[in-house]
């Protein structure tokens, strides 16, 4: 096993035992990047070559030199006997939606392609303060608007390491693919409707969407400000816990970051599941979506390949002493996507207002001679299709004459979705769940180009993840097996506010119990 394939927690032990150096770890990752990543995403990068189609393309910017410098600094601290920090020497990637001082911070959009951030996002600051080594900025859907990464203005878009003909998911596709391909042990992603959990599921890695406010949003280029959650992508639950430990906590620069103490996630990790009540809901085993042809709302059960790993996980947890509670009603799940469509677009349109070609970022090279034309031309040339669609939709549903029937109504739906969870988790209620166990996604990773172009259908990839964003509760996605095409299937655990410790504990128990199963021995295609 190469250093870059060893999980963060074990790397950390080896490093402290001085069996390896931080520089060696970083070099191993950089070599892996050279071997499997192919060319980094760039604007106007021409058509794909057959070779491109075999590569991962996780990165937009590789910060090779600063990574090696950071690694050497860790080695010096270790040599001097200083505490190098909880994540010392652990390589990670950062979704290019976070500002990192001195690096291009592009949001995978032409409009920010030339923008170099003058400051660093709080979660990245915390990673680096804990000694973690940033290898670079990874690709995503433009401004995180998508579930496949195909909408990035920086092409080639990331591909799924398990089969490069398939998408890695999104919008944290670069995060999930870089971790799955062993390019980095950890990645910092964001989740607005499932953007950490869905690509984690598609790429067979662990993704945590923390409670809203658990991790500071300062420096995260905003999409839906009331929904956005930064969180870890990792290769196993222990590593995810380690990373969450570092990035979680109050931040004087983000007033929506919660002043709730951060528990010791690692200390409780092996607490087991005995006596825990874990629920299954029929509303998470079917999906409702508008028919692409007729627009009619259709409902259908999930594919067996998706359902089976979840039910098996329930059996595993039951065998470990958990109590499985079936038939938990979550009736408002089906409204999650339509409500999300409205709320996120209103916030997105407003959040995109600042990209006007005046202060920073792209400005049309044409001489317009008129302010309004400058705005229009700049935004027309600088934004890709997804931002434009979201601006149109957001402006429409927040207009004075429509706001009541769309935006205000969506906010009420959001309250109802939250209520579903409150009832399920109510300590003195009928179900008294510690967690809800669900599939993460309705399908495994789809083929590149299969869904892209249908913005509505693409959005339904988030159907099982978005309720947690509406409700603000934490969610954890972890690998639950492989489908017939040997693509990863994700299972999801949802819990009450600030129950990350509980979710990680359940995830860890499941991970340990299934450690020796055959599917865990299968490697992603790019590594075979």
């Amino acid at each position: 096993m190469e250093l870059c394939d060893i999980p963060a927690y074990e790397l950390s032990l080896l490093l402290r035992q001085k069996q390896i150096s931080a520089e060696e770890i970083t070099r191993a990752c950089l070599e892996r990047i050279d071997a499997v990543d192919g060319r980094s995403g760039a604007l106007d990068s021409g058509s794909l070559t057959p070779e491109d189609e075999q590569k991962v393309h996780a990165f937009i910017t590789i910060t090779r030199e600063s990574a090696l410098n950071q690694a050497r600094a860790v080695d010096q601290k270790l040599a001097a006997g200083d505490d190098p920090g909880l994540l010392a020497g652990i390589p990670f990637t950062t979704k290019d939606i976070f500002c990192v001082r001195g690096t291009p911070s592009t949001a995978a959009s032409r409009i920010l392609a030339n923008y170099t951030a003058p400051y660093t996002a709080t979660p990245v600051t915390r990673m680096e303060a804990a000694g973690a080594v940033m290898l670079g900025k990874v690709n995503l859907d433009e401004f995180t608007y998508g579930s496949s990464n195909e909408s990035s203005a920086f092409q080639p878009a990331p591909r799924n390491p398990w089969n490069p003909a398939h998408v890695p998911g999104g919008s944290s596709g670069g995060s999930a693919s870089s971790v799955a391909a062993g390019e980095a042990a950890l990645s910092l992603g964001t989740d607005t409707a499932g953007s950490i959990r869905q690509p984690a599921a598609f790429c067979g890695v662990v993704g945590v969407k923390p409670t809203y406010g658990r991790v500071s949003r300062y420096g995260l280029i905003a999409f839906g400000s009331s929904l956005d959650c930064p969180g870890p992508v990792a290769r196993n639950v222990v590593d995810a816990a380690l990373m969450l430990q570092v990035i979680a906590g109050a931040d004087p620069r983000d007033s929506t970051a919660a002043n709730v103490p951060v528990p010791d996630y690692l200390a409780q990790l092996d607490g087991g599941v005995k006596g825990l009540r874990i629920g299954l809901s029929p509303d998470y085993f079917r999906i409702a979506f508008p028919d692409p042809q007729t627009g009619e709302y259709r409902e259908q059960p999930l594919p067996v390949d998706i359902e089976t790993p979840v039910l098996r996980a329930a059996e595993v947890l039951a065998s470990l002493g958990a109590e499985i509670v079936e038939d938990v009603p979550m009736p408002n799940t089906r409204y999650g996507i339509p409500a999300y469509f409205v709320i996120s677009r209103v916030e997105a349109a407003s959040n995109l207002h600042r990209y006007d070609g005046v202060k920073y970022g792209y400005r049309t090279p044409q001489r317009t001679g008129d302010l309004t034309k400058l705005y229009r031309q700049t935004r027309n040339e600088g934004f890709g299709l997804q931002p434009k669609l979201r601006i149109l939709m957001g402006m429409y549903v927040s207009a004075a004459q429509y706001s009541a029937q769309y935006y205000q109504r969506a906010l009420r739906v959001r309250t109802l979705i939250r209520r579903d969870f409150e009832q399920a988790f109510d300590r003195s209620g009928k179900y008294r769940l510690d967690a809800l166990l669900t599939p993460t996604t309705p399908t495994t990773a789809f083929k590149m180009g299969a869904v892209y172009g249908d913005s509505v259908l693409m959005q339904y990839a988030d159907q099982l993840t978005v309720p947690a964003n509406h409700a603000g509760i934490p969610g954890l996605s972890l690998p639950g097996g492989l489908d017939a095409e040997r693509l990863p299937v994700g299972i999801q655990l949802l819990g009450p506010d600030f129950s990350e410790d509980m979710l990680l504990r359940i995830g860890r128990a499941y991970e340990l119990a299934t450690q020796t199963e055959d599917w865990r021995k299968v490697k992603p295609l790019v590594l075979r």
């Binding site: 500002c99 003058p118 400051y119 995260l220 400000s225 004087p252 005046v358 927040s398």
Partner: protein, 482 residues
């Protein structure tokens, strides 16, 4: 003119004088600083930044709302007001919309007598009172447009009156009273020339006594109280001319050209802009619990108009005196302390303040609390004059001497030998001296020119460097010349 009355509402933007901006730690006051020096990623709207509320802005807003008798909401929210402008770096202004810090409120505006009309009180209602962030400034320089972001994020209270004012003078009075109040409360420097206090005026006319509202025009860019008065006057005249000529008043936005003294049309007001307000997701609501509110309001001083009335009622001051003595909070505090120390006749203290202390303040541009001539010293000087220990002119010069030296009046009197000489023999000796030196005048006096008595007294005072008791000197002179 008599057939019409003006209907005026004022929209004011008040910069709160906090140390830092409302959502970041940048210095708020940039008056003396070059452009774009008090800025950071937050107030320039860099990607990914978040606002963090400055509590001091809330506290000053609460003080103002309370002084305007507004209802303060225990729970209020920030909202985004979306529009594009280069001086608005986020493309939205963080403001408050439907659940703002406070609502309602009024100011009982005393309107002084004018043109033969007696004084009266105009009740001015407050329609809106909310917190928001200021935008930057743009200016044209040749073919370029320059932006200064220093002002971005300076805390503002937007306060809008009802259509309650009826003349340009009333509007000017309102602004004067508002400025007085803001400084009194210490929430804003309220200097219109520096943009601390900005005002747009909505003006319409209607037949006198009518209850309906006609279409109004909005006057922008007026940055002094006099300019507000002139601009409104001009606009009322214009509207009357238009109506008399059978034209309709259109809802224009007008700009006041200070140099030319004319209003120019900026734009026709089309349909109301849609700012697509929605709750600011980056900020928590303002939860103003009773403890916090009580803590803020415990320092709320007696309001200027209340104090003005009390000065009239309790001290028997004329309205004119009460008005001037309450024009500024330090001055009114000074007056009360001096009255207390003096112990009687507040009007006598007022006279000293209005005649002498105010002049000292104006000349030194100090505020009353900065004077070395403390209220105690002032009271002491007045008492010295009352008891005849010094004469009136010495008392007046003592004011200046105390201010210059910071020494107690009695100390100065002793050191400089300023005490009034009431010793009969000392004055008598000088009187004899004067008469001996002025045989011609003595002759004229005795011949019947008794008005020369004043001249004789003056000569005695001169010789005694003003220390003589003039009444005593006169008695002695009369006796000697009899």
């Amino acid at each position: 003119m008599n057939d019409y009355e003006a209907v005026i509402g004022l929209e004011t933007h008040i910069q709160l004088n906090t140390t830092t901006k409302i959502f970041c730690a940048c210095k708020a006051d940039s008056w003396f600083d070059p452009p774009n020096t008090n800025i950071c990623p937050v107030c320039t709207g860099m990607p990914g930044v978040l606002p963090v509320l400055n509590k001091a802005a809330v506290e000053k807003g609460v003080v103002l709302a309370s002084a305007m008798h507004a209802e303060i909401r225990p729970l209020s929210y920030f909202d985004r007001k979306n529009y594009f402008y280069p001086d608005l770096p986020k493309g939205y202004q963080i403001s408050q919309y439907d659940q703002s810090l406070a609502f309602g409120g009024y100011l009982d505006l005393p309107v002084p007598p004018a043109n033969g009309q007696p004084a009266y009180i105009r009740k001015v209602s407050i329609h809106k009172l909310h917190l928001e962030e200021d935008a930057g400034k743009t200016k044209n320089a040749g073919n370029e447009r320059l932006i200064d972001f220093n002002r971005c994020g300076v805390p503002l209270v937007e306060m809008v009156t009802g259509p309650d004012l009826r003349s340009a003078d009333e509007a000017a009075q309102y602004l004067m009273r508002l400025r007085q109040l803001l400084r009194w409360l210490g929430v804003s420097e309220a200097d219109m020339e520096k943009g601390h206090l900005r005002c747009d005026a909505n003006v319409s006319i209607r037949p006198r006594g009518a209850a309906y509202l006609n279409p109004k025009t909005e006057i922008k860019n007026v940055n002094s109280i006099e300019a507000v008065r002139s601009a409104i006057e001009k606009e009322i005249e214009r509207q009357i001319r238009e109506v008399e000529a059978g034209h309709r008043i259109e809802a224009w936005t007008l700009e006041w050209d200070e140099d030319a003294g004319v209003l120019r049309k900026m734009r026709s007001k089309e349909t109301e802009a849609d700012y697509r307000y929605f709750r600011e997701p980056d900020l928590l609501p303002i939860r103003l619990d009773d403890a916090w509110k009580a803590d803020i309001l415990k320092a709320l001083p007696e309001l200027p108009l209340v104090r003005r009335q009390r000065f009239m009622d309790a001290y028997g001051l004329p309205e004119y005196d009460a008005d001037i003595l309450t024009s500024e909070r330090n001055l009114s505090n000074y007056f009360e302390s001096a009255v207390k120390a003096y112990g009687s006749d507040p009007k006598r203290v007022s006279n000293y303040l209005m005649n002498d202390v105010l002049r000292m303040l104006n000349e030194s541009s100090k505020t009353a609390d900065q004077l070395r001539l403390t209220p105690l010293f002032l009271a002491e000087i007045i008492k010295l004059a009352d008891t005849g220990a010094v004469n009136t002119s010495t008392a007046k010069s003592l004011l200046q001497k105390v201010e210059e030296s910071g020494k107690a009046p009695a100390e100065i009197v002793a050191a400089e030998g300023l005490a009034k000489v009431s010793d009969d023999s000392a004055i008598r000796a000088v009187c004899l001296e004067v008469l001996a030196e002025s045989p011609k005048e003595v002759e004229s006096y005795k011949a019947g020119k008794v008005t020369l008595m004043g001249w004789f007294v003056g000569q005695v005072m001169k010789k005694m460097r003003g220390k003589a008791d003039p009444t005593l000197a006169r008695t002695i002179l009369e006796e000697l010349l009899a």
